[in-house]
């Protein structure tokens, strides 16, 4: 056993030097943490006067497994900014984009960063699961949030500063089932696939399964997959043994795209209905020609013939060759547009004169909820709790080009719905 003392430079001397070094380093770390905590304590800009030009922060998934949606959202925001910057602006609005990644801590970090920089409102985060973590932070600090793609139940109910432009899919998702049943009224055997470890997919499959039951259909096979799965041979084989005439999938873009491809490769020829997670043109390169014929219900149709949707489509095509925009891009545009229009209305009425940033945020939230908006999604407004009210939804079929790389969501029917309320989103 080693004891203190002994010869200089001996083992005990080394040990005591090491111990002393540990204590010193630990004290330095503790001092640094304390100093940073004290310095970061009073950096809330809410009490400062509103600056001449205001900034809206967007925290969207540019990395992680949701980045396919984030790329769509980035495009939507950039196009909206480009279009609106040419209109008259009593008070200029700028956009600051931050990566909210695909997990909860990153979304919280991005929200905190943007709030500390003094944004007047926030757009994001991409995933509903992230919203449950990050939105309460904005709510506590009184910063308006417009969610472009959170469709899970309960998002606007997080607080009075939380709203969304993404309609819940409990109303939308079953519409594509009706289309499939209309195309083949003989369908009686349905197989269901869903990503078991994903909040959006599990919520959406419950909606699909309830809708199937209401139409007198009981799934002959319910297969659980995982978001990170690449190989779906086992669940597909198990499902195909039941000879399904319809397959209903709730998954995200990458796993869902691979699942469709492998279903077709393993010989399934029947109809496929998919949920909102595959509602992005980014699935085309994943499932390629095997995407062809997939049915999907949507909150946006590129075929909607209104001036603002034509503008949106034109700007999108100028930026992306000849491709057509998807729902997530349109919803991101809409999130930016509603904030912009609410801000300009408020400014014109003098509601932003001589107020602090905190008060401006509160007034902007009230104005946002009070207005009606003509957007690429069609006319929308908000319920007092922040839920979007959208009157028209669509069912599309994926139509792939001969090259198997490009495709489009082709509108097959549009449906007027009185109100849209809650549901899951990617």
């Amino acid at each position: 056993m080693l004891r203190r003392g002994g010869l200089s430079g001996g083992p005990s001397d080394l040990l005591s030097a090491r111990r002393r070094g540990s204590v010193r380093l630990a004290a330095a770390v503790a001092a640094a943490i304390t100093a940073l905590a004290v310095l970061g304590r009073s950096s809330d800009p809410a009490s400062k006067p509103l600056p001449a030009s205001v900034t809206v922060g967007a925290a969207i998934a540019l990395t992680g497994n949701a980045n396919l949606y984030g790329q769509d959202q980035r495009m939507g925001l950039a196009l909206a900014q480009q279009w609106l910057s040419s209109t008259a602006q009593p008070r200029p609005m700028r956009l600051q984009l931050e990566d909210g990644a695909s997990d909860e801590p990153s979304a919280i970090a991005a929200f905190n960063l943007l709030i500390r920089r003094g944004v007047i409102a926030l757009i994001g985060p991409t995933l509903s699961q992230q919203a449950f973590a990050a939105d309460p932070i904005a709510q506590r600090q009184g910063v308006p949030v417009v969610a472009p793609s959170n469709t899970a139940q309960g998002i606007p109910q997080i607080g009075s500063f939380i709203s969304r432009v993404s309609a819940q899919s409990s109303v939308i998702a079953p519409l594509s089932l009706d289309e499939a049943l209309e195309r083949d009224p003989e369908i009686s055997r349905v197989a269901v696939f869903f990503a078991q470890d994903d909040a959006y997919s599990t919520a959406e499959t419950a909606i699909f399964q309830k809708a199937l039951a209401q139409r007198g259909l009981t799934p002959v096979s319910v297969q659980r997959t995982q978001l990170a799965d690449n190989d779906f041979q086992n669940p597909i084989t198990a499902a195909l043994q039941q000879k399904p005439q319809l397959v209903v999938i709730s998954a995200q873009a990458v796993d869902g795209g691979n699942l469709i491809r492998q279903l077709r490769e393993l010989g399934y020829r029947g109809q496929i209905v998919v949920g909102n997670g595959l509602n992005t043109p980014n699935i085309y390169p994943i499932c390629q020609r095997w995407c062809d014929g997939v049915l999907i219900a949507q909150a946006y149709s590129p075929d909607l013939n209104t001036p603002i949707n034509q503008t949106f489509r034109r700007l999108f095509q100028e930026a992306n060759g000849n491709s057509t925009p998807g729902q997530i891009t349109a919803q991101a545009w809409t999130a930016y547009q509603v904030l912009f229009e609410a801000l300009q209305r408020l400014q014109e009425r003098g509601g932003l004169d001589g107020v602090t940033l905190g008060e401006a945020r509160r007034r902007l939230m009230q104005e946002l909820l009070a207005g009606t908006y003509d957007t690429p999604l069609g006319p929308i407004h908000f319920r007092p709790d922040g839920e979007v009210v959208q009157g028209r939804f669509y069912v599309a079929v994926v139509t792939m080009e001969a090259n198997g790389r490009d495709g489009r969501f082709r509108l097959v029917r549009s449906i007027d719905v009185n109100t849209a309320a809650g549901g899951p989103t990617p």
Binding site: L36, E104, N112, L113, Q129
Partner: protein, 292 residues
């Protein structure tokens, strides 16, 4: 400069790094930390949301959750530790990864944990991140103090002896199973208690918080920071949690740079940033100046 929210995440990272370090100090490569972290967080989420707290919760209630989570994870670790710690090296690592997966799948499928959505609306004990810094920083100081005391204690020396040569240690009459189990249980309790703070801080808790990815991330804390002193994982956890956020100004390149740091860290610092030699130099530093 990191904001206080990030500082909370950094301290939580440091605590998880310490949890990986404790079994490693006894020569055991255990990746079970996320499993106990998930259990602690889930317990806190259930306890806090089942009572009617209406958005806020007292600090006393959170401390009580930490006590319960610490006890539960320690008991769980004692239960699984005995059979699992018979394995060594890579086999132990694989068994603990299996434990992480079992806990993850259990949380995903249990009827009361909210499935994939998890539990949301977890009430807050503090209005500002500063409160969380106090709570998690206090826990880190306590854990650091315990580890520092451990290094000079009989248990700590037995752990170091097992790390160097388990067979020789057993020949000296030390009950190596008990020492290894103690380290494993302490690690589990620390991870469980950290999970409680994280669940409140994140507002929401689901099975993804305790996944295999977290095991790898926390292992990276120890590898970059160094595994021969408790300060290594602490500094590794603080740095690696902060780095992606501090690299935000470089935009899309930030994850590339982060990857490079993880890749090049072990190349330039094979024993980690904090080595015993560094601590010795630090301990002697002023002696040389004051007594030339």
């Amino acid at each position: 400069m990191p904001d206080n929210g990030l500082l909370v995440q950094m301290i939580l990272g440091a605590l998880l790094g310490l949890s990986v370090y404790l079994p490693m100090a006894a020569g055991q490569l255990s990746l079970a930390t996320p499993a106990f972290y998930a259990v602690g967080g889930t317990l806190a989420a259930l306890m806090a949301t089942h009572a009617d707290h209406q958005g806020t919760i007292s600090l006393g209630a959170v401390l009580w959750e930490m006590v319960v989570a610490g006890a539960l994870t320690a008991a769980l670790a004692a239960l699984v530790g005995l059979p699992v710690l018979r394995l060594r090296g890579i086999y132990l690592a694989i068994a603990t990864i299996a434990l992480v997966e079992i806990v993850r799948v259990a949380i995903l499928n249990l009827p009361f944990t909210g499935g994939a959505t998890g539990i949301f609306g977890i009430p807050q004990p503090f209005g500002q991140p500063l409160g969380y810094i106090g709570l998690s920083g206090g826990l880190l100081a306590l854990a650091g103090w315990g580890c520092q005391r451990l290094e000079g204690s009989r248990l700590g020396r037995a752990m170091a002896a097992i790390r160097d040569d388990e067979l020789a240690t057993r020949c000296m009459g030390i009950n190596t199973t008990r020492v290894k189990l103690t380290a494993f249980v302490a690690s589990a309790a620390l991870a469980g208690v950290t999970g409680v703070i994280a669940a409140h801080y994140l507002n929401t808790w689901n099975a993804r918080q305790g996944s295999f990815d977290v095991a790898i991330t926390t292992l990276a804390f120890v590898i970059l920071g160094g595994s021969r002193s408790w300060l290594g994982p602490v500094i590794g956890g603080l740095l690696l949690t902060a780095l992606p956020e501090l690299l935000r100004p470089v935009g899309d390149l930030r994850l590339v740079l982060f990857g490079l740091v993880i890749l090049l860290g072990p190349v330039f610092f094979p024993q980690g940033l904090i080595t015993p030699e560094l601590l010795e130099r630090l301990g002697r530093w002023d002696l040389r100046r004051l007594k030339p």
